[in-house]
Amino acid sequence: MGTRVIGAGSKHTELGLTDYEYEQICEKLGREPNDVELAVFSLMWSEHCGYKHSKKLLRRLPTEGPHLLLGPGENAGAVDVGDGLAIAFKVESHNHPSAVEPFEGAATGVGGILRDIFAVGARPIAVLDSLRFGELDSARSRYLLDRVVAGIGHYGNSVGVATVGGEIYFESPYEQNCLVNAMCLGIAPHERLTRSAAAGVGNHVVLLGALTGRDGIGGASVLASAELGDGDEAKRPSVQIGDPFEEKKLIECCLELLDRDLLASLQDLGAAGLTSSSSEMASKGQVGIDLDMAEVPLREADMEPFEIMISESQERMLCVVEPQLLDAVFEVCQRWEVRATAIGTVTGGNRLRVFDGDDLVGEMPVDVLVDGCPLYDLEPEKPAGLVYTAPAARIGDADNVLLALLRSPSIASKLWAFEQYDPLVGSRTVRRPAQAEAAVLHLLHDGGHGAVAVSIEGNGRRVACDPYVGAAEAVLECAANLACVGAEPLGLTNCLNFGNPEKPHIAWQLTEAVDGLADACRALNTPVVGGNVSLYNEAPEGPIYPTPVVGMVGKLPDPAVAPINSFPREGLVVVLAGPFAPALAGSEVEKLRGELADGLPAVDLASHAQTLAVIRAATRSGLVVAAHDIAEGGLGVALAEMAIPARVGVRADLRSLENDSTEAGGSIAADSAAPDFPAASAANSRARSAAGPSAASASEALLFGEGAGGFLLACAREDADSLAAICADIPFTRIGETGGNEIVLQLRTASLSLQVEEAAQAYERAVPSSFE
């Protein structure tokens, strides 16, 4: 049986298990597994399901917090947002499927994360996506971007869940191995939150949703737990196909079943299909489960029991139903035209038993399946130097640095992508994608119950420069985005996208990054409520940049005063607030110059936590009309991004900042007073590492350097003193006013000016023009 998939010879190695792991299985079973059992073990003990290289490390993350309702281990985490309401959220990767078949890979990535959310009883209300591709001038990257965006839109738009935000970076290490991480938020009354633990011996196990076919067989082990390489085309049949219409019905049906209190537990079928869903439910409930493969409705008639057990057909859910409620469940399902089939029962003991009609074709102890997988200690070793080659230089000395940054695809406007997503369905979206630093959603439609804000971030290149600081910065960046709209963090979810953890330098990246995340979470008193790990993101050319993606959810009392992130009009005062210490290391301008730093300046997490509280007080006061944290491209890009949307110019005098916050810390040399300042600085900055900080590189660091802690706030002139009073405990510099049609940045010995329209053309055209 099953020779087509398993093949001859050492089946377990073909299925991704090591000889040691196979011996462990035999020892714990007391015999050799049969083909059904081997297929089940190979998935449950895969990296994707078993977290065998990351589980120990993940224990370092703080998972307790005052607002936590559901923590790691459930289908999604959930936090209390007041008024008896909960927000459930989670981020998950679908990297390898998207690298092989971008449209369906991305679409089913969205479908999968939606199911995690409604599996806990929450109605999905928002999706965000974090995407990474190779450089946009590569045809493969454009193809992947185009199809991934189309796939996300196809699924999210059709299923009626708003896509409210996200981010896209373009870096060559993602050329072969793109990243597609999708995050979903759902809302639920506390009492509807549902756990997945199976309960009640004798209860029915009911499969809901789509027919089971051969799609995605072995996806978790074949795709998600090995490096990409030649022959990926042949893996295309391992990618699942999504049906958002089926999912839409499934969402409405499951929520109605939960509202009517008809289910004892609910679980989605994700990676490894029935195998993982049934064993997880049994494990959490400390019970056994019998499943009859002959009862599973099939799309193809001749499927083997092992294929049915491991199929990754989409849009399916598994629930536990008390016998007397079964008819009521079927009635609701029939109304929604959702297939519902009793395929098994909850049993005493702790066995997962697989039947094919009357024949017992597999029997495994649940605890061995779920918790018996060997957990490996990482063997981290700090590499002697950077493991990545510096990116190709993209600007010359004569180029206008600000324009080059605005045109750089990782910074440039992503409206091209956002316009392909429905940001509005559900009538909750107060701040749409790119309108504010974080998306803002009403909790209740009467507007009286506050709102939640959500942001997703993770700059892999900075993590490559310094895994600890880069990962901590991802948390700070999310919190900064939230602070800009007045939201206080309640919890976060993360997706750890890394290379092969069996390699010492990748293990080192992973360890450092988890420590950085953990320390930043503690400093902000924000727990990790759940997440996902995606390892083995490597191509023959090497690993991806280590990319911990952080999704953070916070609450704000009054969405009506949540600042947008651009200047709405002339005559506003612009201030720089916060402990901003910009440095060129790890910055976008450094990348454009073809350099990659080894190490980033340390971050003082406690001072950032204090700053965030002050910024939050400011943005909640109603005085701030626009707020923007300083991130990629530094102060110069942040000011331009604020000027571009409404074409409102700004004049900023940065002279008072030149001594105290640049990385050089020295005075500006008199001879750099060239009128074409950006070019002059470009010429000098190359020499900085060899010859020490030059005056021009100090200026460039001030203008385009990066680092957490800087915020640009705009307010009416008459409110400037009140705003200064709120910000009394943090650095606060009034740098200019909005007005005119130019962006002007005045330094002591030079000034930079750019027409807003010219900046806008560079910023807005960069991505769409690459598809023309």
């Binding site: 738009n157 009626g160 839409k248 019905k249 439609h445 507007g447």
Partner: protein, 217 residues
């Protein structure tokens, strides 16, 4: 008080949004696709979304649903029927409205806030507007390019046009919404139900619901 009925097909996405919008101006309830009973409502909204998945031509399945038989009778009796986005597509498929909706010229889904002009302020859906008023209302669709073989023949049946430079999808003559000959059935691609609250972007779409709820003295 006007009672709105909002149809819910499997795959409808914006039906609750339309329900909430209608409730700002009257009473409103959902109508199930399998029911032929419109429960005595005063006005019907056929909402946006992807009815029955729209895997065939958009709206092609929904027009055969039991509830649409009742809607056709309701329309024939002069009852006001508003089709939004997918609802517009369904009403065209059902031949309750002239013309058809084709894929956007970009062949992509487009979500964008657009300005539309009220061309005919004499319908039950626009009577709260001044003629030539511009409304800020979002569009979000893949198949919104309005087509009619003889657009000039529509005359007063054109109710909304995209403002100059705002046509997002290549619609013929910038047509954003049309009425039937009697004027009691109107469909449009923009989503007025997503423009009823300044906090979420605009309240201009409320004018359509206000018009429908308006009981002439």
């Amino acid at each position: 008080m006007t009672r709105f009925g909002v149809i819910r097909f499997p795959g409808s996405c914006d039906e609750v949004d339309a329900l909430l919008a209608a409730r700002r101006f009257g009473e409103a309830e959902l109508l199930w696709h399998r029911d032929r009973d419109l429960k005595g409502v005063d006005a019907v909204v056929v909402p946006g979304g992807f009815s029955y998945g729209d895997y065939l031509r958009v709206g092609a399945i929904a027009r055969f649903s039991p509830v649409m038989e009742a809607v056709a009778e309701f329309a024939a009796d002069g009852g006001p029927v508003l089709g939004i986005c997918n609802g517009f597509q369904v009403l065209c498929e059902a031949h309750l409205l002239p013309g058809a909706l084709l894929p956007n010229t970009s062949l992509r889904f487009i979500a964008r806030q657009v300005e539309i002009e009220v061309v005919n302020a004499a319908t039950p859906f626009t009577r709260a507007c001044e003629e030539a008023t511009q409304l800020s209302i979002p569009v979000k669709h893949t198949t919104g390019r309005y087509y009619h073989p003889h657009p000039d023949s529509l005359a007063d049946q054109v109710v909304f046009r995209y403002a100059p430079g705002q046509n997002p999808n290549g619609s013929l003559a910038d047509i954003a919404g049309v009425a039937n000959e009697a004027g009691n059935v109107v469909g449009l691609m923009p989503h007025p139900e997503h423009a009823v609250d300044p906090l979420v972007g605009s309240a201009d779409g409320g004018k359509l619901f206000e018009s429908m709820a308006w009981v002439p003295a």
